[in-house]
Symmetry: C2
Subunit: 378 residues, 2 copies
């Protein structure tokens, strides 16, 4: 007999599969319309059936955040894998092993030193690594500024050293801090423009720079033009979450990941409902804390997924979550949320909450639930 | 050939085993001197070799935060297990299975409704559950206030319903918010006094209440007297962490858990050193944010574990950590922290950071490293 939500032990991470499919379609169609390929970032789900649904919908290749994700994808038949974190020299042997098995793995650098290490290692092992150069488009994290004088030098070191320069890539991570369409469009254009400009600089130096890869979920959903861009990487759109809701790129109904929880007690005087989803289930991510609307550790919904206005998981211990209501009024919380009753909590950040669970429970339109395992660790 | 720290891929969670053993000895000796039994909370490590070291040093039974931890411990030969989260009626079947296999499992309640559900289920299955009643000693989370009129009623429901009332328990979780010996001693005394008083109330009603169980690492290390208490539960003392350091119950050298990381880049203009330990490795726990000293996502140390003053993992993306220095001066960060060099990061909260990893690497006094797996999920 197939499992149903009612049969699940709590806490558990639930995927609303029909909604996930709609999220996948939405992004894929947008990328198709803009004429670029979509290379989804699988760090959000780390889950093969999710990735396969993305590929089936038209995605081409994947982006990964760890070499373990790369190994896992390759073992499952995915060839074209971009490890989009600056390559540490000590990880080159692991990348080499993947390449030698036939994986079309590409790697990333943003420094002369690391680029030279890739060249040296590649030459030593007679391997032509596929390498991207990372551009910093918004001061958010890693990458070279587009006018950095070492940009062309790195491209030259790689090319002359016998490596394959795939192109340039960037990630407008600061998009998570925005919340108006105007600001998002402007950042998306900045991301596009600066990355295309970086490619031009390399090309003007007489070197090939075939690809321009950009992406974050908010900018991918906001860009008006992607001229000059060849591919977009985005991850969290597959589930969306409360941070994305605050950014303004999804509506409440589009959130496809939640945590199913059971009421285990109350502190009636304080209006607290205590659940078995604490921070071990939700993660410690408080991504909405500095946004326009702070959802605590999550938005509380009914077991079937309807938002309960003003009900938040406002604090969390390891295995205890505390729900509070914005206005209690005459509500008897012990009757409204009795011990043993079940709720769903929408997370701040799907990438962080998913990581707390060894697997998802994927619920289809008929209410049938399958177990989808996910990767953990490095 | 046994592994060494130098051979480990990063990021990885390292246990300094000699320091862990000293932490275990310190707590065990204190409890021995105070004349109570120590029932360590294994939710910190979720790791059998750690728990076995605690038992070998004199601990008696374990405390768990999930039934999965209970099942795991029982499968490994540990009999006396206290599941110290209020029992959801829906989990009684799982508890029953454990009991039927011979596990000496005890469970917890803080309400008439849940107590009645335990009695009903126990009678239905002809099983005498061992049950504790949770007391709220500091308004922190769950439990009955000591003068709550339902306290004795719950004890009576359980006893008259054929269950075994083990005793009363409490957890002074608010101790994490304190940072002076005086305040900690006062809270420890409050925790002791109120829990003993709750037991007295039950005894005065003519019911047996054999045990009084209290504990949190800060109060366990601060209590001057544990008169009337039979056992102490504490967890994080086994590793300690920066939150405990701020609370003032451990010194820098006592932190036994760290994350080994590799430098993968720089933003020289900003003084940033970028590492492969992001929030996926450290967790999103920002427990020191509201303490006297905010350590960001962690304190940076050399590869051998020496604190680098003023160096913090000040921000984190999923697989990127950004280290900043409180004063850069004339330091060339690319030379001081070159790409490929390795550092250790001490975490805010050992329970949260450990959970990010499928296993620990346990390093003994000779530098030999073993892999110790840990539980994940529910």
């Amino acid at each position: 007999m197939p499992a149903s939500i009612a049969s699940l032990d709590t806490p558990v991470a639930l995927i609303d599969v029909p909604q996930m499919q709609r999220n996948i379609q939405r992004m894929q169609q947008r990328m198709d319309n803009l004429g670029v390929r979509l290379r989804p970032h699988i760090k959000t789900s780390k889950c093969l059936p999710v990735v396969q649904a993305q590929i089936k919908a038209g995605a081409s290749g994947v982006t990964v955040s760890t070499l373990k994700e790369a190994e896992h994808c390759f073992a499952e038949g995915i060839q074209d894998i971009f490890y989009a974190v600056a390559m540490a020299p000590g990880k080159l042997a692991q990348a080499l092993t993947l390449k030698r098995k036939g994986c079309q793995l590409s790697i990333l650098t943003d420094s002369l030193i690391a680029a030279q290490a890739i060249v040296d290692f590649g030459q030593q092992h007679d391997e032509r690594f596929d390498v991207w150069i990372e551009i910093d488009c918004d001061g958010h994290r890693s990458g070279l500024r587009v006018e950095d004088e070492s940009l062309v030098d790195i491209a030259r070191i790689l090319s002359e050293g016998g490596m394959q320069l795939c192109g340039v890539m960037t990630h407008a991570g600061s998009s998570y801090e925005l919340d108006t369409p105007q600001a998002l469009q402007a950042l998306a254009e900045q991301e596009r423009h600066l990355c295309v400009r970086a490619a031009q600089r390399i090309r003007e130096a007489g070197l090939a720079c075939p690809q321009v890869s950009i992406g974050s979920t908010p900018t991918a959903l906001s860009a008006l033009s992607l001229e000059g861009v060849t591919e977009v990487r985005a991850g969290v759109y597959v589930f969306f979450d409360l941070v994305m809701h605050n950014v303004g790129v999804c509506v409440a109904d589009e959130l496809a990941l939640s945590v199913l929880t059971t009421v285990i007690g109350h502190q009636k005087d304080k209006g607290w409902v205590i659940t078995d989803a604490g921070w071990m289930a939700m993660s410690r991510d408080r991504g909405t804390q500095r946004q326009q609307r702070d959802f605590g550790y999550g938005q509380v919904c009914t077991e079937t997924g309807d938002w309960i206005d003003g009900a938040l998981l406002s604090s969390a211990n390891q295995e205890h979550g505390i729900i509070t209501l914005s206005s209690i009024g005459d509500i008897d919380i012990t009757a409204r949320f009795p011990i043993g009753s079940r709720l769903r909590i929408l997370p701040n950040h799907a990438c962080a909450t998913g990581a707390q669970f060894p697997d998802y429970r994927a619920c289809d339109a008929s209410g049938e639930v399958q177990t989808w395992s996910r990767l953990h660790g490095w």
